[in-house]
C-alpha cells in the first residue's frame, strides 16, 4: 500500500506538534517555579517557608512513604494555625521518588528549584544516597525519618544530613548482643532478602556475631516473591541452628517462619524493624509466636505521640513505621529555625546539632555525624499476637 506524501507529511506534522506541545508544557510549567527560587537571600516576612517532603508516595513502597507525608502535613497545619515560625507560615511540598535512585536525583533538583530550605526524607537508603549528591551541592539540610544505611552518616561526608532513626549498625549490635547474651546461641543461620536494607542488616549482624565467636552455619538470601522457600527451609533444618536471624521485611519473614515451624524447626527467630508491622502478626498467626524483633524503643505512651496518633486517626490515617520519626524530624527542624532565627542552611545545621528537642520520639538531639541521640533500639517478642517489649 502506498501512502500519499501529503498524508504522511501531515502525520509527521501532528507528531511534531505533539512533541512540541510536550516540550512547551514543560517550559511553561517551570517558568513559575523559577520565580520562587530566585529570591532566597532576602525573603520578606510574608513569604512562607518551604519545606520539602520526599519519599515513595506511590508504588509498592508507598506504605513506608505515605505516613511521613501525612504526619508532616498534620504538624505543619498545626504550626501554621498557631502562627507559624519566625512569623512566617510553613508550606509543605511533597515529591514522589518511588524509592528509585534515578528519580530521586530529579526530585531533589525539583525541590531545590522550588525553593525549599530543608527536606524531610527520603525514605529508602538508596534513593536518599542518590539524592544527597544533589542536596550536598546546594547545602540543603536533609532529615530522613527512615534511611538506616550506616554509610550515609559515615565519615561526615554528608554534613547537612541528619536522621531521626538509628542506623543499622546500632541495630545489628543490639541483635548480636541479644543473641549471644540472652539466647546464649552458639550456632546461627543468617538469612536475608537480597535487598538493600535486608542484606545490609544481615551482613552487619553476621560480622558482629563472628567477632563474638559465634559460628555462622549459613548465610543465604531468598528471592522476594519466589514460589516457595521450602528448599532453603530444608537446608536450615539440616544445619540445625540455635537461632535464625533474618534481615528483610515482613512478607518474607512470615513466609520463612511459617514454613520453618511447619517443618518442625525449633530455633529462635530474630529480625530487625522491617518486621515490626501489625500485618506480620496478622499474616503469620500462631507461627510467629515467640519471634524476636529489634525496633526503636516503645514511645506509644508519650503524651505527644498519643496526640499525633489521635490526629492521624481522625483523618483515617496511621503512623506506620516511620510516621513518628518524620514528625520528630519536623519538630527538630522547626525548633532549629526558631532558635537560630534564620532559614540559612549553616544556621539550621548548627542549631540542629546544639538543640535538645522534645519530640514524638522523646527528647532527642543529633551527634556530630547527624545520627540521632536518644532513640535507641529495644527487643520485642511476639506474645499473644502482640509485640511485647522485653527487659533483658
Amino acid at each position: 500500500m502506498k501512502l500519499s506524501p501529503f498524508l504522511l507529511k501531515n502525520f509527521k506534522f501532528t507528531l511534531l506538534l505533539l512533541a512540541g506541545l510536550i516540550l512547551g508544557l514543560g517550559l511553561t510549567s517551570c517558568e513559575k517555579k523559577k520565580g520562587a527560587s530566585s529570591n532566597e537571600a532576602n525573603t520578606p516576612a510574608s513569604e512562607p517557608i518551604i519545606i520539602g517532603v520526599a519519599g515513595a508516595h506511590s508504588g509498592d513502597l508507598a506504605p513506608y512513604g505515605l505516613p511521613p507525608k501525612h504526619t508532616v502535613a498534620i504538624a505543619a497545619a498545626e504550626l501554621n494555625k498557631a502562627g507559624g515560625v519566625l512569623g512566617r507560615q510553613i508550606k509543605i511540598i511533597a515529591q514522589d521518588d518511588v524509592c528509585k535512585p534515578g528519580i530521586a536525583t530529579d526530585v531533589a533538583s525539583k525541590l531545590i528549584s522550588q525553593g525549599v530550605i530543608a527536606v524531610i526524607g527520603h525514605i529508602c537508603s538508596g534513593a536518599t544516597n542518590a539524592a544527597l549528591s544533589v542536596y550536598r551541592g546546594a547545602k540543603i539540610p536533609v532529615i530522613s525519618p527512615s534511611a538506616t544505611s550506616p554509610e550515609l552518616t559515615l565519615e561526615g561526608q554528608n554534613p547537612y544530613f541528619f536522621r531521626t532513626i538509628p542506623h543499622d549498625a546500632a541495630q545489628a549490635i543490639v541483635q548480636a548482643d541479644f543473641i549471644v547474651k540472652h539466647l546464649k546461641a552458639k550456632r546461627v543461620v543468617v538469612v536475608h532478602d537480597k535487598g538493600d536494607y535486608g542484606k545490609g542488616l544481615a551482613t552487619l549482624v553476621k560480622k558482629e556475631l563472628e567477632s563474638k565467636g559465634v559460628e555462622i552455619l549459613l548465610f543465604e538470601g531468598v528471592t522476594p516473591g519466589a514460589v516457595d522457600y521450602s528448599a532453603l527451609i530444608r537446608k536450615i533444618a539440616q544445619a540445625n541452628p540455635d537461632v535464625v536471624a533474618f534481615g528483610g521485611y515482613h512478607p518474607e519473614g512470615s513466609k520463612i517462619v511459617t514454613q520453618a515451624r511447619k517443618r518442625d524447626i525449633k530455633a529462635a527467630f530474630i529480625s530487625g524493624d522491617g518486621l515490626k508491622d501489625p500485618s506480620f502478626i496478622k499474616i503469620g498467626g500462631k507461627f510467629v509466636e515467640g519471634y524476636y524483633v529489634t525496633s526503636p524503643a516503645d514511645i506509644s505512651t508519650l503524651a505527644m505521640t498519643i496526640k499525633v496518633n489521635e490526629q492521624l486517626k481522625a483523618k483515617g490515617q496511621e503512623a506506620g513505621n516511620f510516621g513518628l520519626q518524620a514528625h520528630a524530624a519536623f519538630t527538630a527542624l522547626i525548633k532549629a529555625i526558631e532558635t537560630s532565627k534564620s532559614t540559612k542552611p549553616e544556621d539550621i545545621k548548627t542549631a540542629l546539632m546544639q538543640n535538645k528537642v522534645a519530640t514524638t520520639l522523646g527528647e532527642i538531639s543529633f551527634d556530630k555525624n547527624g545520627d540521632v541521640v536518644g532513640s535507641g533500639f529495644s527487643v520485642y517478642q511476639v506474645e499473644d499476637s502482640k509485640f511485647k517489649q522485653l527487659a533483658w
Partner: protein, 305 residues
C-alpha cells in the same frame, strides 16, 4: 550420615517437585498460546495473580457465610478458574486479536502494556500490600515419606498438577476442540478452510490456559499463605523459562521443563547457595538451548526458502 544425606537429598527432591509442578502448570498456558498463535503472552503471570485475588475474595465470602473447608476450597477454585478464563478471554479480545497479522513484536508490547495495566488495576481496587491467604487445604503436620519429611500440601500440589496435565494431554489428543487446536497449530489457513472456527478455538486456548493458571494460583497461594499484586511476575518469568526449556509449544515439554527447572533450583539452594539459585536456573536454560536450540522436546522445523 549417609542415611542423613539421602534423607536431605529426598527432601530437596520434594521441594523441587513442588516448585516444578507449579512452574509446569503455569507453563502450560504459555506453551498452548505460543503453539497456536506464536505469541509470548506476557500478561499470563498477571492472570495468575488475579486468579489468586478472586480466589481470596470467594473464600472470604464463603467463610463469612460459614461454609465448610471442602466447600470453600471448591467454590474458591471454581470462582478463580471462571474469572481467570474470563480475563484470559477479554485480554485476548482487547490486546491481541486486533493485532493478528501484524509484526511479531507488536503483540508483545501490547502484552507488556496489558501486564502493567492489570497490576495497577489490582493495586487500585484492592491493595499494594501483602494480604493473608487462608490455608484452604487441610492442616496436617508434615509427615515422613520414604524417610524424608514432606508437607501434605506439597504432595497435593504435585498430585493435582499431574492429574491436570494428564487430562489436558488427553483433551488435546482426543477431543474435537483439542484436535482443532492442533490443526490450527499446524496450519491456520488450512484449518480455517476445513471449517475450524479459528477465532473461537484461539479464545478457548486462552481460556483453558488461564483456568490452569488459576488452579496453580489457588494451590500455591494457600501453601504460601499470602499474596500481593506482584506474585505473577516471578512465577511468570520462571514458567516461561520452563516452557522454553521443554520446547515451547509442546505440552509434555512444559511438564518436563517445569520439573527440571524446579529440581535445579532446589538442588542449587540445597547444595550450593540460594543466592545463586536463579543463576543456576538460567545457566541451565542457556546450556540446554545451545545443545538443543528448540528446547528438549521441541521439534526444530526445517525452514525452506
Amino acid at each position: 550420615m549417609s542415611t542423613d544425606g539421602f534423607q536431605y537429598f529426598l527432601e530437596l527432591f520434594f521441594s523441587g517437585l513442588t516448585r516444578g509442578s507449579i512452574y509446569a502448570l503455569i507453563a502450560l498456558g504459555y506453551t498452548m498460546v505460543y503453539g497456536i498463535i506464536g505469541l509470548i503472552n506476557f500478561a499470563h503471570g498477571e492472570v495468575y495473580m488475579i486468579a489468586a485475588f478472586v480466589g481470596l475474595t470467594a473464600a472470604g465470602a464463603c467463610s463469612i457465610m460459614g461454609l465448610g473447608t471442602i466447600s470453600i476450597l471448591i467454590i474458591a477454585l471454581m470462582a478463580a478458574m471462571i474469572w481467570a478464563a474470563a480475563y484470559g478471554y477479554t485480554i485476548e479480545k482487547v490486546a491481541y486479536s486486533p493485532l493478528r497479522g501484524s509484526s511479531r513484536l507488536a503483540p508483545l508490547i501490547s502484552a507488556i502494556g496489558m501486564s502493567i495495566f492489570l497490576r495497577e488495576y489490582v493495586i487500585l481496587v484492592q491493595t499494594a500490600d501483602f494480604v493473608s491467604f487462608p490455608s484452604l487445604i487441610f492442616e496436617i503436620a508434615d509427615f515422613k515419606f520414604l524417610g524424608g519429611y514432606i508437607q501434605p500440601t506439597e504432595m497435593l500440589i504435585t498430585l493435582v498438577s499431574v492429574v491436570v496435565m494428564v487430562t489436558l494431554f488427553l483433551f488435546m489428543g482426543y477431543s474435537k476442540s483439542g484436535k482443532a487446536m492442533r490443526a490450527i497449530e499446524q496450519d491456520q489457513e488450512m484449518a480455517r478452510l476445513l471449517g475450524v472456527n479459528v477465532d473461537k478455538v484461539i479464545s478457548l486456548t486462552f481460556m483453558t490456559g488461564s483456568a490452569l493458571a488459576a488452579v496453580g494460583a489457588i494451590l500455591i497461594s494457600s501453601h504460601i499463605g499470602q499474596i500481593n499484586y506482584n506474585i505473577g511476575f516471578i512465577v511468570g518469568i520462571k514458567a516461561f523459562t520452563a516452557a522454553v526449556l521443554g520446547g515451547i509449544g509442546s505440552i509434555p515439554g512444559a511438564a518436563l521443563g517445569g520439573l527440571i527447572l524446579g529440581l535445579t533450583e532446589s538442588f542449587a539452594t540445597g547444595y550450593v547457595s540460594s543466592d545463586y539459585e536463579d543463576v543456576f536456573a538460567f545457566s541451565l536454560l542457556v546450556l540446554i538451548l545451545i545443545l538443543r536450540p528448540a528446547g528438549l522436546l521441541g521439534t526444530s522445523t526445517q525452514e525452506k526458502v
